[in-house]
Symmetry: C2
Subunit: 190 residues, 2 copies
DNA sequence: GTAGTTTTGTGACGATTGTCACAGGACTAG
DNA sequence: CTAGTCCTGTGACAATCGTCACAAAACTAC
């Protein structure tokens, strides 16, 4: 739980008392490769803090897998819409490696938040961070070409490129696998 | 302020007392067409609740305008990253019509939130809604072609198409103005 | 080690897109 | 009303992309 505590302290003031109050909402959990953290059609009742390994979110559109996000150590993975609105998730979250996460149980988190304002503030910070990331990636598509998006990832999020296979990366970049391969080729030539 | 109160009630429980405590953080403000709500390089210290009119967020990339968001009545416009992190905004928010907004002052909002948990929860709800929207639009680019994105907007966000000119819409859809024109043509033929 | 699977690169070809250029129509300010 | 501006459509052409097909390379499981 050490990593999580450091992560929390990087976001907000957090007393030992708040940490104690938060404990009932937390549980450590292990996933094997290809285990689901969240499945399409289910309501998302958790935030997943990733301790080790990584996972991805993806849509299954007519049998085609479309990856929409990758989550590494010290990231929070969740379906923020389903988590907040209680609507069914339209996408899946799946472990890409053996994965260790700390699960925030929604109900117990809310109970804890009622007892300590710092926990409420922590929730707000997590959601804000999540929103910032979504905004960042959303704007990539409006501002840049596929090649520029790849460059952006290399500079700003190298961990994705180091750990995710190019096949997996392609749909995240919004292009076909073959196109990503050619973008890399073009770039090496020039 | 009536619309705002209805909006708040649609998000969360909110007592009259919380409403009173919130007042010092609120101020109504008018913008003329092409007035800036937020300018590149400044820190975003406000949430803008839109009462009437609409505005847009855009990047200026080497002199080219790239629209990243449109905000209508009952939307909240802000730079969520700058608002939370105190970093300078990389984009602008500008009125596209005469605009009436209710400004949430960040500092006073935080003071009010300390005094009433309902205000804290309101902040969380606003951010969560914002995150959901970003996620939705971010995924559009990973899941769909430009034509499918246009269809999606027509079905799910018709107000954008009714009120925003096609020239303005193009960069939001991530294509050139001419391409949007051709997509519309193709669709009418088939 | 071996067989099977996954990943990556590449050729071919048609479809789509970006860019530049131009023109007509709609809108606006005086 | 008129001049200027903004918006939309379209032609031409090169660049890029998606799709299908195939093969080599890398990785896995036993």
């Amino acid at each position: 739980m050490d990593n999580l505590l450091k992560y929390i302290h990087s976001l907000t003031e957090f007393s030992e008392q708040s940490w104690e109050l938060l404990q009932p909402a937390l549980s450590k959990r292990e996933f094997k490769k290809n285990d689901f953290l969240l499945q399409e059609g289910n309501i998302c009742n958790s935030l997943f803090y990733i301790e080790s390994g990584y996972c991805k979110s993806y849509y299954n559109i007519d049998g085609t897998i479309k990856n929409t996000g990758f989550f590494f150590e010290n990231d929070i993975a969740t379906n923020i819409n389903s988590f907040g609105s209680e609507e069914k998730s339209e996408f899946n979250i799946i472990a890409c490696e053996p994965l260790t996460v700390i699960v925030f149980n929604k109900q117990k988190l809310f109970e804890a938040a009622k007892q300590a304002r710092e926990i409420e503030a922590l929730g707000r910070s997590c959601i804000r961070l999540f929103a910032s990331k979504q905004e960042e990636f959303s704007n990539l598509f409006k501002l840049y070409t596929a090649q520029e998006r790849l460059n952006y990832l290399e500079v700003n999020h190298p961990s994705i490129l180091q750990r995710v296979s190019l096949s997996q990366l392609a749909s995240f970049l919004g292009v076909a696998r073959e196109t990503l391969s050619r973008i890399r080729k073009r770039r090496n030539l020039r």
